[in-house]
């Protein structure tokens, strides 16, 4: 594939004496050299998400001398982020990620310009935000934003350096490159909520985003330099457990709804609705699912009521903490349902109440009637009944 280089501003820039020293290991490489380093300095890269993928990405792009770095994230640093989001220190807990990342990256390289955006990316602000950047790097954690980033990049003709992770597995590619495929060529539609396990159920090994985010950083820098073969039209799959990289061909789909021959998506849409999760946060799937609060459950147990507790989390979660329930992971429930007694009153719980709602939905179809979903799961139990139960 011929490489049309990313159109950078032609602004006249020079390297200071200090910068020449700083970037000397780049400058002595023919693939970068003074010309490449000045391209880096003139380039503008917007990072969507300052989390796991954003950590190595931000650090390497700042260190490499990308002149203008945008960091968009609305979240705050949480204790449970530190296992993988290596931009942040323990002292950053509670701070805005966009601000904490900006401080860390400025300390690493004071000669670059960093703009933090403490905002959620929306259909209303995406085009306006993206238009000032040459390359968008997608390090988000949810489907609506992934589709939004893709569509906005295609509409503006900007490359989208994509990476995503799950447990031990990662994917990376460059979408939205002139002539190349986009995310919707691969996945025209998002999965319905509930069919793909979320990260909270799945977890992620801390090093994995480090590897995938570094691949994104490398591809971003290659696009700026116009060096090598960009990861366009190829989906890189990484399996950390097997320690194996595989590559699949990605083709531009002539029927793609955004970049195909007859696009049906010509402006940004409502991506929450598109992904079927509009209002999910305020209205969990509780229709027809009877709930019991942790306090009510405790009161009934103290009264000596005969309640059967079913825990539908995974074995390793049970080992972190449990409520002495019988453990049948949600995925095993269909084939182990015979182990349960439908005549007994049963309280089903998980970590936060979502998987247990799915379990109850299933058990209801299997004919169980005396079911309660523990509202808020073991997290709420820890908050409302027994703070010695650790939250995870």
């Amino acid at each position: 594939m011929a490489i049309p280089t990313v159109a950078l501003s032609q602004q006249d820039v020079k390297l200071s004496r200090e910068e020449i020293q700083r970037y000397s290991r780049h400058l002595i490489m023919p693939e970068v050299g003074m010309e490449g380093q000045l391209k880096l300095k003139r380039s503008r890269v917007l990072m969507i998400g300052a989390g796991g993928l954003g950590a190595p990405l931000g650090l390497y792009l700042a260190a490499a001398g990308v002149g203008h770095l945008g960091v968009l994230d609305f979240d705050v640093v949480d204790n449970s982020n530190l296992q993988r989001q290596v931009t942040f220190t323990t002292a950053d807990v509670g701070k805005l990620k966009s601000e904490a990342a900006k401080a860390r990256l400025s300390a690493l390289n004071p000669s670059i310009e960093i703009q933090s955006y403490e905002t959620r990316l929306t259909s209303e602000n995406a085009l306006e935000l993206f238009k000032d950047y040459d390359i968008i790097v997608d390090g988000t954690d949810n489907f609506p934003t992934r589709f939004l980033v893709n569509d906005a990049c295609v509409l503006l003709g900007k490359p989208n350096v994509y990476g995503s992770i799950f447990r031990f597995e990662g994917q990376a590619t460059v979408f939205g490159y002139p002539g190349g495929p986009c995310y919707r060529c691969l996945y025209p539609e998002p999965p319905p909520p509930g069919l793909v396990p979320s990260c909270a159920e799945g977890g992620v090994l801390g090093v994995l985003p480090g590897i995938v985010g570094s691949i994104q950083a490398m591809e971003t820098i290659k696009l700026i330099l116009g060096a090598g073969d960009p990861l366009v039209g190829r989906l890189l799959l990484f399996d950390a457990l097997a320690m194996r990289f595989r590559e699949l061909k990605l083709r531009k789909n002539p029927e793609c709804p955004v970049c195909g021959n007859h696009p049906t998506v010509t402006k940004l849409i409502d991506y929450e609705e598109f992904c079927g999760i509009r209002g999910e946060e305020t209205l969990p799937m509780t229709d027809g699912i009877p709930e019991i609060t942790p306090k009510e459950m405790k009161a009934r147990q103290d009264r000596g009521d005969d309640l059967f507790i079913l825990d539908v989390r995974e074995v390793h979660e049970y080992q972190i903490c449990n409520l002495n329930g019988k453990l049948i992971p949600l995925g095993e429930l269909p084939r182990r349902v015979s182990e349960l007694d439908s005549s007994k009153e049963m309280i089903v719980h998980c970590r936060s109440g979502k998987r247990s709602a799915d379990a109850i939905f299933f058990l209801q179809k299997a004919g169980f009637k005396k079911l309660w979903n523990l509202k808020g799961g073991i997290l709420a139990w820890s908050d409302e009944v027994d703070p010695t139960v650790p939250k995870y």
Binding site: G51, F143, S164
Partner: protein, 97 residues
């Protein structure tokens, strides 16, 4: 034809944690049929109720997307690898559930 079907991490909970399954199948569709009849819970994750492959699940024969070959009717040969590639969204893994 003996082919190998690679199961991605999110779906391994339905295959008894197995990362790949070997089976005998003349087409990609046959191999997937074999997989979902062995592991019943996998079916709804791969196919819609009317038996079509779900649009957020991509299936590859070696490194080619079967949508650009003969879809499920794509013929296999000995030693082929079939990969199921679902969309995953994780990046920073905000805890939510």
């Amino acid at each position: 034809m003996v082919v190998k079907v690679m199961v991605p991490t999110p779906l391994r909970q339905f295959t008894g944690k197995q990362a790949s399954i070997e089976c005998t199948a003349a087409t990609v569709g046959e191999a997937l049929g074999h997989l979902t009849s062995t592991f019943g819970e996998l079916r709804k994750h791969l196919f819609t109720d009317d038996g079509r492959l779900r649009s957020f699940v991509n299936v590859y024969l070696n490194d080619e997307d079967i949508r650009f070959l003969q879809k499920e009717n794509t013929q296999t040969k000995d030693g082929d690898t079939i990969s199921i590639v679902p969309s995953i969204a994780g990046g920073s893994c905000r805890e939510r559930n």
